[in-house]
């Protein structure tokens, strides 16, 4: 592969933001080099590629860096035409995908983090808020799966599938560590079916971090966060 067209992804294995970029590249069949960043000791390379945020993921293509996971996903979709089209053609449908992708990445993720960082009575209220947001997504999904049956194959995966599976593919990890059913088949039946269909796809299942490794990591993060907030 010519040097100019080389693709490099700077990531961090537990990061859902980096994970979604990895999944997108694999779906499109784009050969790439993966560089694992140690976020406790960021490389000079990362700092020079993303001086504004100093975060992963960063995609480098044709020697030029792109940061911000959803921005990267749209770039990948516009640049490589193999594999599934991540965004639909119709502008209204594109708007719906962008709306919900942002909802998952900001609203849902934010709720999960808040639950993880809180103990006691206050936590109950936050869990209920998280469920409420999940219910909103479940309702919103009806327009994507009008017959109520999400059947998915790798050729037809879209941006929202990629974003959601990156954040919630490891939901059993969150359930184990947080002690509440993040994806409840009774509260959010459509989300439950959708995620099950996504996790049946080998490419997605294999790209997500292994369960036990993720549990150990999340436990460590939560314990450190709680320690520092009660110190």
């Amino acid at each position: 592969m010519a040097e100019e067209s080389k693709v490099t992804l700077y990531g961090y294995w537990p990061s859902p933001f980096a994970k979604m970029v990895e999944i997108a590249l694999k779906l499109k069949g784009v050969p790439y080099e993966y560089v694992e960043e140690d976020l406790t000791n960021k490389s000079q390379m990362l700092l020079s590629l993303n001086p504004v945020h100093k975060k992963v993921p960063v995609l480098v293509h044709n020697g030029k860096p792109i940061a911000e996971s959803l921005v990267i996903l749209e770039y990948i979709d516009e640049t490589w035409k193999n594999g599934p089209q991540l965004l639909p053609m119709d502008p209204y449908k594109r708007a719906q995908v962008r709306f919900w992708a942002s909802f998952v990445q900001q609203q849902l993720q934010d709720s999960m983090i808040k639950v993880a960082m809180t103990e006691g009575e206050a936590r109950e209220k936050l869990v209920e808020e998280a469920y409420e947001k999940m219910r909103l997504l479940d309702e919103g999904l009806k327009s994507f799966f009008p017959d109520g049956n999400p059947s998915i194959d790798t050729e037809h995966l879209g941006l929202l599938d990629v974003v959601f599976v990156s954040f919630f593919g490891n939901h059993k990890v969150h359930e184990e560590v947080l002690g509440f059913k993040v994806i409840d088949p009774e509260k959010t039946p459509l989300i439950h079916c959708w995620l099950k269909a996504l996790l049946d796809l080998p490419l997605l299942k294999e790209t997500l971090p292994p369960h036990d490794k993720m549990v150990a990591f999340i436990k460590f993060i939560n314990e450190s966060a709680l320690k520092s907030s009660t110190a």
Partner: protein
């Protein structure tokens, strides 16, 4: 002939203003519906059940919420007078700065509700840092974020050219000055001279009074 376009907005909001700017820049006719946020309409609740916020764009009766999503929809539906570059990398760059602006909202919010003292000094310092990044890495030596003419990034950051000055006046700190941020200061002047912008700004005095009361409410609620 496009099917009915409606904008549900709120006159002091920079979020609904950027939707108006984009539509006007493209010459798209629309009906404007002023929302009373203290008494939200059925239309708003139905069109944006997730956030119950303005702005909402309705096109042929179909609602779209979230200003950044609305701007991309407008760009894709009415391609005349393009507001995003054609080339993929430049588009990614534009989207990066739109997101940066959105993420840094709370930084300016902190400044807006700060009162004199250590809290305000820190808030001013943080805001200045963001503005410096915008000037040095976002704007560079360009007249506009879009280059020679405005694009979605300028619209997304347009609040800095009119609403921010009200914040500066209320907290009595001037951050965007020709000595400290020469290029950003020039951008503010240039942006305000673009006809579509110039003709579509809320009255400064009325806006200042509105923002003053919001600020006072926020401070007393702290």
């Amino acid at each position: 002939m496009e099917e009915g376009v409606k904008v549900v907005g709120f006159w002091p909001s920079p979020y609904s203003q950027k939707v108006i700017w984009a539509l006007k820049q493209k010459g798209v006719a629309y009906d404007y519906i002023e929302e009373d946020l203290s008494n939200k309409s059925q239309l708003l609740m139905k069109s944006n059940p997730v956030y119950k916020k303005i702005p909402v764009l309705l096109h042929g009766g179909k609602p779209i919420a979230e200003s950044s999503v609305i701007l991309e929809y407008i760009e894709e539906t009415w391609p005349q007078n393009p507001l995003l570059p054609k080339e993929a990398y430049e588009r990614a760059s534009a989207r990066f700065w739109i997101q940066f602006g959105a993420e840094k909202g709370p930084t300016f919010g902190s400044l807006f509700t700060s009162t004199a003292g250590e809290e305000q000094d820190k808030a001013a310092k943080d805001a200045l840092e963001v503005l410096k990044i915008l000037e040095e890495q976002g704007l560079g030596n360009n007249k506009f974020f879009g280059g020679d003419s405005i694009n979605l990034v300028d619209l997304a950051l347009g609040w800095l050219a009119h609403w921010f000055q009200c914040i500066e006046e209320l907290v009595e700190i001037k951050l965007i000055e020709p000595t400290t941020l020469p290029r950003l200061h020039a951008w503010v002047e240039n942006f305000n001279q673009v006809p579509v912008i110039h003709e579509n700004l809320p009255d400064k005095k009325r806006l200042l009074a509105h923002m003053k009361s919001i600020r006072e409410m926020s401070i007393s609620a702290k």
